[in-house]
């Protein structure tokens, strides 16, 4: 039985094409995913991300627990309201999941993926050394994204978030608002009680904000060069070959987080592969699993799309670390020219590809 978010009826009412995703019944699109994509790049859109898993971590052991399970260091969060992106690793350095950790007045809040919920809860429980873990299933979550998103949300909610810095959050009663997102645009992600979420959704749609489905969420995040867990990185890949090496805090040297030993060994041996961007230089669309041929050996597309902003196909690919410049992608048996580029491809509505 698939689960439904508090906004299920609202999706159906808005014409959402509902599909199963990570055990949830979610909207794929509300008509044209390209239009939805363009709306987020040029105005504002709202995503229901209530399927994401919210876990509060509190108690006197909270800090030590998170410094042990998260490869990034929560001690970088100097004051409450700050947030960081990081990865949970296994002993081999493989990525168990990626997450955002917010520091709160009391303790922390973790937001992990929907499809990994059971695995992460079990992983947390197994490695817990006395922290209080509370899943907040009663909370819904809306992402409001696009150049007009912050002003629109401020006007409707009365919460002054305009001065909030990226990767910062504030709490107003039972609502938490973070200046975060998964689109490469300005915006907020709002965690709030279910009934409030339905009301906020309705108010946003009444104000002309477009509902955005999972399909556009995927093209937006890929243009922004953001990984999708389970596709661009898995338990079989470590952060240094997943373009998220920057989220691994090896300093201070005495913090023994899970996966540290394996990552130090990887660094000593030298990183063999990298996750990087790819632009196709002919017609066609790169897809997950397609082979990439470089002067230094073969690699593989991890995520590929037709980019609505750029008008051609872009991808993330895991290739040999030395690979650079021109490559070929095997598209159904045909060698098609492509070029390796550093993601992101698009930021704040503008192409970053030369």
């Amino acid at each position: 039985m698939t689960k439904r978010t508090p906004l299920y009826d609202a999706h159906v009412q808005a014409g959402g094409k509902m599909v199963e995703f990570g055990g949830w019944d979610m909207p794929l699109n509300y008509g044209s995913q390209i239009k939805e994509h363009e709306t987020v790049r040029s105005a504002a859109g709202v995503f229901d991300v209530s399927h994401m898993t919210i876990i509060d971590v509190s108690g006197s052991a909270a800090r030590d627990f998170l410094r042990h399970v998260v490869a990034n260091d929560v001690d970088r969060l100097k004051v409450s309201g700050k947030a960081l992106y990081g990865a949970l690793l296994n002993e081999h350095g493989g990525v168990v999941d990626d997450l955002i950790v917010y520091r709160r007045e009391e303790g922390y809040r973790c937001v992990v993926n929907a499809s990994t919920r059971d695995k992460v809860l079990a992983w947390f429980a197994r490695n817990n050394t006395g922290a209080v873990l509370t899943e907040r299933q009663e909370l819904a979550m809306l992402a409001i994204q696009g150049p007009n998103a912050v002003a629109l949300y401020e006007g409707l909610s009365g919460n002054a978030v305009g001065d909030l810095k990226p990767f910062s959050a504030l709490e107003a009663g039972s609502v938490m608002i973070g200046r975060t997102g998964y689109t490469g645009e300005d915006g907020v992600e709002v965690m709030l009680p279910a009934q409030d979420a339905v009301e906020l959704w309705r108010a946003l749609l009444d104000a002309g904000v477009a509902p955005i489905g999972l399909a556009a969420r995927d093209t937006l995040r890929l243009e922004a060069g953001l990984n999708l867990y389970g596709q661009d990185m898995t338990e079989a890949t470590h952060p240094f070959e997943s373009n998220i090496g920057w989220t691994v805090a090896l300093k201070p040297a005495d913090r023994q987080f899970i996966g540290r030993r394996a990552l130090e060994a990887v660094q000593a041996e030298g990183v063999q592969r990298k996750l990087t961007g790819l632009v196709l230089e002919a017609k066609g669309v790169m897809r997950h699993g397609y082979e990439v041929r470089t002067a230094h050996g073969t690699g593989e597309i991890t995520s590929g799309i037709f980019s609505p902003t750029l008008g051609y196909s872009i991808a993330l690919a895991r290739v040999p670390a030395e690979a650079d410049g021109s490559v070929e992608v095997d598209i159904r048996g045909k060698a098609v020219p492509a070029r390796l580029v550093k993601p992101p491809f698009v930021r704040n509505g503008q192409s970053l590809v030369n």
Binding site: S32, Q33, I34, K283, G284, R287, I305, F306
Partner: protein, 131 residues
């Protein structure tokens, strides 16, 4: 509910075929297919003069979501392709049975068309798909 015009013939692989007055067969993909694919961004068409076999690959349609092979509904020679789709692939979504046609075949045997589904049988096949 998808549109399934009565006057056309259909392949289970979601192509439609229309026998024109001059004996040429026009081919495209159905409303059901374009709806399932989502926004079409690229269409790879056969070459004019190419020989195609019924139920064999004759092209590819790529949407934002997925790539999908297009099969020739009848055997014959390709006599025209819809070049307008190169610059305006979204026509496939907007007008699948009209301006969104893919290619035209001069059939080896017009009777090949009899092997295809009629509108009722195709509509039923789509409904089974949806369940």
């Amino acid at each position: 509910m998808s549109e399934v015009p009565n006057e056309l013939k259909y392949a289970a692989s979601h192509e439609w075929a229309r026998l024109e007055e001059d004996g040429i067969v026009t081919v495209g993909i159905t409303d059901h297919a374009q709806n399932a694919l989502g926004d079409v961004v690229y269409v790879e068409l056969p070459e004019v003069d190419a020989q195609v076999q019924a139920q064999s690959e004759a092209g590819v349609v790529e949407s934002v979501k997925a790539a999908s092979d297009i099969y020739a509904p009848v055997s014959g020679t390709v006599v025209a392709v819809n070049e307008a789709l190169e610059d305006a692939p979204e026509t496939v979504n907007q007008d699948p049975y009209g301006d969104g046609w893919f290619f035209k075949i001069e059939p080896d045997n017009v009777s090949d068309l009899d092997d295809l589904l009629d509108a009722d049988a195709y509509a039923e096949a789509c409904e089974d798909d949806d369940h």
